[in-house]
């Protein structure tokens, strides 16, 4: 009876465990195995090459490190511009204002759209020859600002980063707003009675209480932005030249472009380790911030 009951319990988790083992754990292990081979993805033979792939990544693949820097640059803009915008909007909404719910609904529209849709629509607006943005710039009297936003190496990466921020700020906004709403109103009232102005209340009440939320949003932003690439496929395809390449695009290129599955896996591992190190540093940082 006891054994039968235990078996019955296992049956409940069996479907989940089966799917998870086949589609998560096995690929996870394979990434590490394949990363040590020179497999091309087609031939049945693969040779164990040790850490050769990793040596190549570290010493002979400048484009990989360029793509890492590009992702870092986009992340930096997301951390500063996108999150500052999200915080300001949340702060503006955290009061008695009309249409508050409308703003909440609207600010989360970009996040629910797919990266392909967002990328292609913005690509059309930013089109160098026929785009609406350049048209308006001319009409409004700034013809010297007209650019081939996505095909000029000087502007492509920043443009992509800003569109990425446009797509993502709604997440930060909702989380910040939820955080702000947990701060008891009495604190502000007490501060007001004591003669504090809005700026003082913000510095001495809002900011300290929001530190954990800010750190959380920062961690989510970094992990999400470093791995973003679909938006870039839709907007620039990684070009012009390699100016908007990011690590996941390089992995995809190794796999599909040059049919180097082993190398692609090694790149994946390298990138995964970098991400884990970054989140660990942020985690430590957040612990210190809390203490």
């Amino acid at each position: 009876m006891k054994i039968k009951s235990t078996l019955e319990n296992y049956l409940f988790v069996l479907p989940a465990v089966t799917i998870f083992t086949i589609f998560y754990i096995i690929p996870f292990v394979w990434v590490f195995q394949l990363g040590l081979t020179d497999w091309d993805g087609i031939l049945p033979t693969k040779h164990f090459v040790g850490i050769t792939n990793f040596q190549e990544i570290f010493f002979q693949d400048p484009i990989w490190w360029q793509s890492m820097l590009n992702a870092g640059y986009i992340t930096l803009i997301a951390l500063t511009f996108q999150n500052a915008l999200a915080f300001l909007l949340a702060w503006a909404c955290d009061r008695e204002i009309r249409m508050k719910n409308w703003f909440k609904v609207i600010f989360f529209i970009p996040p629910v759209l797919s990266e392909v849709v967002v990328g292609l629509v913005w690509q059309w607006i930013l089109n160098g020859n026929y785009g609406l943005l350049n048209y308006w710039l001319v009409r409004l009297g700034f013809p010297n600002l007209v650019h081939n936003w996505l095909s000029d190496p000087n502007t492509a990466l920043t443009t992509v980063a800003i569109i990425h921020s446009w797509k993502g700020f709604g997440w930060g906004f909702l989380i910040f707003l939820a955080g702000l709403q947990t701060i008891p109103r009495e604190l502000y009232e007490a501060a007001h009675v004591d003669g504090a102005n809005a700026w003082h209340s913000f510095r001495k009440i809002t900011m300290p209480l929001m530190v954990p939320v800010i750190v959380l949003v920062a961690i989510l932003t970094v992990l999400g932005t470093m791995q973003a690439f679909v938006l870039i496929i839709a907007m620039t395809g990684g070009g012009p030249a390699y100016h908007t390449q990011v690590p996941v695009l390089r992995i995809l290129a190794s796999m599909r472009g040059s049919s180097r599955f082993g190398y692609a896996c090694a790149q994946g591992i390298t990138f995964g380790v970098v991400l884990i190190i970054i989140s660990f540093i942020q985690y430590r940082f957040s612990k210190r911030a809390k203490a």
């Binding site: 589609f23 609207i106 629910v112 629509v121 059309w124 446009w166 909702l174 989510l220």
Partner: protein, 283 residues
């Protein structure tokens, strides 16, 4: 001495600034979609010249052409099929598991649960390479079922987590009563636990539906055959290829892709806000 009037003017000014800020950001959120729809109603000739916000004539035939010639009708049905199958799969598989993790005792329970949770934390950016190899070996690549199983797996950890958290807080009395009445474990899960979990199931359904509908990379590497592709891949492939300069059709295709998700979002907005904030607080 600052007078009341001073403070009043100051408040009005601050409020006005806040509104201008909020409204201008809100406009940038909506405008690209508006421009997408506008552009989808122009013709191949006018779209490059006519920059008016409302087109002079509405060319709805672009939608017909996109659906027929661009085969967006098929891609649309594919996307619907994948989304529904994956969401149903996730709801069944993850609620069974979450219920067991929450209510039953069995050896290895906590270990298995933590493995699922670890999968949420550990990023493996190259996993699609190995997944491609795996599906090839199983002869599931370029099949609908292969894609559906992969996507069920993608949503599993988070859904199990949300559901288990809910079951943990749910009172056990109703289930005890059902058990005394002779209901089986499966029966209690089906007739007592699932109906009570409706609020959290709504969150699970909405988030996974958005995720599957918008998914790109796995569909890109899994499907070779045109007739199996979902919307996202078809958009990217078609318009980098044969339709590259047919912007009105592209915009119609984008509208067809975006509208269902916006409708679902507006209808289920409450659950999305709940999901984001809950997920953030526990995360």
């Amino acid at each position: 001495m600052k007078t009341g009037a001073y403070y009043k003017t100051k408040n009005v000014l601050i409020n006005a600034a806040v509104y201008i800020f909020l409204i201008s950001v809100a406009l940038t959120c909506i405008f690209p979609l508006f421009w997408m729809v506008t552009s989808s109603l122009k013709t191949q000739e006018t779209i490059f010249k006519d920059m008016s916000l409302i087109p002079r004539e509405f060319h709805f035939e672009n939608y017909y052409l996109a659906l027929k010639e661009g085969e967006f009708g098929r891609y649309f049905l594919n996307s619907i099929f994948y989304t529904v199958s994956v969401v149903v799969g996730i709801v069944i598989v993850s609620s069974l598991a979450a219920y067991a993790f929450s209510r039953f005792e069995f050896p290895g329970r906590n270990f298995i649960f933590y493995v699922f949770m670890a999968a949420m934390m550990i990023p493996i950016p190259g996993s699609f390479v190995a997944l491609y190899v795996l599906l090839n070996k199983l002869h599931l690549r370029n099949t609908a079922i292969g894609y559906i199983l992969c996507m069920i797996n993608v949503g599993l950890s988070t859904s199990i987590f949300l559901l288990k958290t809910f079951f943990d807080k749910m009172p056990k009395e109703l289930e005890d009563a059902a058990r005394i009445d002779g209901c089986s474990k499966l029966g209690i899960w089906r007739h007592v636990a699932l109906p009570l979990a409706k609020p959290v199931l709504a969150v699970v359904v909405v988030f996974n539906a958005l995720n599957v509908w918008n998914e790109f990379i796995l569909a890109l590497i899994i499907f070779d055959s045109r007739h199996l592709m979902p919307l996202q891949v078809a958009l990217q492939q078609n318009f980098q290829g044969e339709f590259i300069t047919r912007y009105p059709l592209l915009m119609a295709g984008l509208t067809i892709t975006a509208v269902p998700i916006i409708i679902v979002y507006l209808l289920m907005q409450k659950y999305i806000v709940k999901g984001v904030t809950q997920g953030a607080i526990v995360g």
